[in-house]
Point group: C2
């Protein structure tokens, strides 16, 4: 999709919408023709046509026979950029896919609740209430509970030998919130954001909702083409680069240590903030991944977003960010505006589980369980001519079909067969490719469901082959 | 403060900042003089001076003797509009006041934790874990837990005889988040927002952070001058009107029923969204307040933000919004982007306390306790020549001193004496008045603290009289 044309069309839309709002044209008035407007605004007729279609969908204008567009009575409510974006999308959104109730769930990169420490967490919760009887009648500070931040700082120091303190840590309600706050702080409309291609679709949505101009760099099994990264930074001066370098979502690739160092240097040179999303760091099968990018950062260009909750308790919604000192005040301000601090109860529950030896025991078991599930999915897929690179960690397989397929129809058909997956297109920041790619999460379905579901999926795909 | 000038100054700031970023001027380069730039940009010299001062504070430029401004080396990180706002404020911010550790705490409109049902909530939490053993390993939907939304819908129907369903309700992480989401959805830079004067300072901050153009209508003991409201709506076409019509913060005033109906009609006529913040609805002393504005809304112009947590458990961070159907998708989209849904645990804990008979018992006791505290504060204040209108509910007294005082110094002095309050200026959307007004919350301090603290405050004020 051509980015430029999209902006133009939005501008025409906004122009028309505002003039109708200001009653320059009143209910029942005939609006300028597509031809007139395209000449007046010096844009392609298709651009005007699209703007009118959007206004029509939103009940702002109507068409009388073939005589043109007219202003509709104002029964509609104000419209925002987000609904604009949504109305413009042709394919399933991720949340629409997730709303499908299916038996074989390969679309959500979530861990099967049966693999999570539910029982122990309940015990810890009771402990929390004994320790902090007034935890529910108190707000947390905006930055997050001090005890939790202290514990996390110690953890990071011990693990990565880098110095930091509770002052450098901000607690957010999940990594989704962290990305949203960062995007609000740094991105003005039409600022350039660099993303990996493919990338995490919720992050793509967040940056789009800020009207960022998205550019992308391919992520490969060996990492990035750093020369190209440098060229893009030089040419576009991106405000930030959103990376997920460890068991990358959706591909599972991990960027090697040497590239990590180099990337931080590039970011420093081109004054580009790196947002490092590290949700899968601890979900490895054989050996621990390289240290995070932020550990190589001496200039304060990397914001490190670490979600622990995926494998402890997604329901708690607790994530931690390591924030360079110069960015802290800004992030605290947007966090304060957004919700005035994450709930204290959730932070305390997480803290007590996190500090207990249970966590390591749980993780060891979880790694084995996930590896087994991955291998079962791969075993079934080996019966096809599909290809993928077997990941060393994370929750997903990024599968390539031999030929492009009509993804929407395929997904529809799969859902009818009670199987869900994420189409490649949704993971493309440029929304134009990956029509032969699927993301299959092996973490949610149990072993039996994995076998049956993958077989069903193969059958559905084969009807198109 | 002149709104126009502020924007100008920000524009000059941004212009300079961006040119430095683009290396039009490099480290060590001399920048244009104030005189040159004011001529080039056709702005007042003071405007340029302010922009340079801001850049200096942020380490972006430096002054060499008296020879002018020079570009500083880029050790600083990117700056956003928020830090800009903050740096521009001369007075204490609310959160700075709240960070002060004082013995006599009259600045936070929070309820004394000793008056909250901590013990019973702990029991309910254990119940929640028995009922939903996997509550921590599950996400809520973006809109919020269905069971909670059903319960709230039934509650609203029973109480206000208006029809609505779980579909019309959105759960947010506190009313702060609700206001923030609404503001993100509806406000583009320089859109006009109508507020009450005085108003809730966090709301003022939220709308400012969206670069809204703020206009204000006085709130009086009898409500608003509706003719003036109509005039403002006609003239400025505000995108939304943020109201807190029931035991208003900070004044405690309540808008009467007849005005509520009329206001909804006006909003409908002028296509202005009303955001009704109703955090104090149940905190009345003698009789229940009039029904909320949204109950008079047939056209879908009112978003009703109801926080229950203030008097149950602030730490849970659960609020409910009643959202007109046409606005629902937009709000769900911004909520999804912001945090993908509030934590399920918190919603379930709140649900079970909310549905229990304990809630009404707690509320009855709480009302008496708060009324007693209010009366103690008033008893002490009666010894002065200060004036206030005794509120019928809520958590605050809005007190007028006979003369304007240097608020910042007064607050500083009060804090030195271990007393905190909120200066009137902070509650002014126009940031220019109320220099003889104080907001004193009687809900947090206990009876002894109220007596001693108010006496100390009177002493401090008297040193200025």
């Amino acid at each position: 999709m051509n980015k430029q044309r999209k902006y133009l069309f939005e501008e025409v839309y906004e122009y028309l919408w505002q003039r109708i709002e200001r009653s320059d044209w009143k209910t029942g008035d005939k609006l300028p023709s597509i031809r007139e407007l395209s000449m007046e605004m010096n844009v392609h007729r298709l651009t005007v046509y699209k703007a009118y279609q959007m206004l029509k969908q939103q009940g702002k204008v109507f068409v009388k026979d073939k005589s043109g567009y007219y202003v509709q009575g104002s029964s509609t409510s104000p419209i925002d950029g987000h609904s604009l974006l949504r109305a413009n999308e042709k394919t399933y959104t991720l949340s629409e896919i997730h709303q499908q109730s299916v038996q074989y769930q390969f679309s959500q990169a979530l861990i099967d609740p049966n693999l999570l420490p539910n029982h122990f967490l309940s015990d810890y919760v009771k402990k929390v209430f004994d320790l902090y009887p007034k935890v529910l009648s108190t707000y947390s500070t905006v930055q997050g509970d001090m005890e939790l931040r202290d514990t996390l700082a110690t953890y990071f120091i011990t693990r990565y030998k880098t110095h930091l303190s509770h002052d450098d840590i901000l607690i957010t309600s999940g990594s989704q919130q962290a990305l949203h706050l960062i995007s609000q702080l740094f991105i003005k409309p039409r600022d350039t954001v660099l993303l990996e291609r493919p990338s995490y679709s919720a992050a793509i949505d967040i940056f789009k909702s800020q009207d960022a101009h998205l550019i992308a760099i391919d992520i490969q099994p060996y990492g990035y083409d750093l020369e190209k990264v440098e060229m893009l930074m030089k040419q576009y001066k991106p405000r930030l680069f959103y990376v997920n370098p460890t068991f990358h979502n959706p591909t599972g690739y991990t960027v090697p240590t040497a590239q990590r160092k180099k990337l931080v240097e590039l970011a420093e040179r081109y004054n580009c903030v790196i947002v490092e999303d590290d949700a899968y760091h601890d979900i490895y099968f054989e050996k621990a991944p390289p240290p995070p990018l932020y550990t190589f950062d001496t200039a304060g260009v990397v914001i490190y977003v670490r979600s622990f909750c995926k494998y402890v308790s997604p329901g708690l919604r607790v994530a931690a960010c390591v924030v360079p000192p110069a960015m802290k005040d800004g992030l605290l301000t947007v966090k304060g505006l957004a919700d005035n601090g994450s709930p204290l109860l959730n932070q305390k529950i997480f803290l007590h589980y996190f500090s207990s030896p249970r966590l390591q025991q749980h993780l060891e078991k979880l790694r084995i369980a996930l590896q087994i599930r991955k291998e079962i999915m791969e075993e079934e897929l080996q019966k096809t001519n599909w290809s993928w690179i077997s990941p060393d960690g994370g929750l997903n397989l990024w599968v390539q079909l031999p030929d492009p397929l009509p993804t929407d129809q395929l997904l529809q058909k799969a859902i009818e067969n009670s199987v869900s997956f994420v189409p490649g297109l949704i993971c493309d920041p440029l929304q134009q490719g990956f029509s032969s790619s699927l993301r299959l999460s092996y973490s949610y379905a149990n072993e039996e469901q994995l076998r049956v579901g993958v077989r069903r999926l193969i059958e559905v795909v084969n009807t198109y082959a």
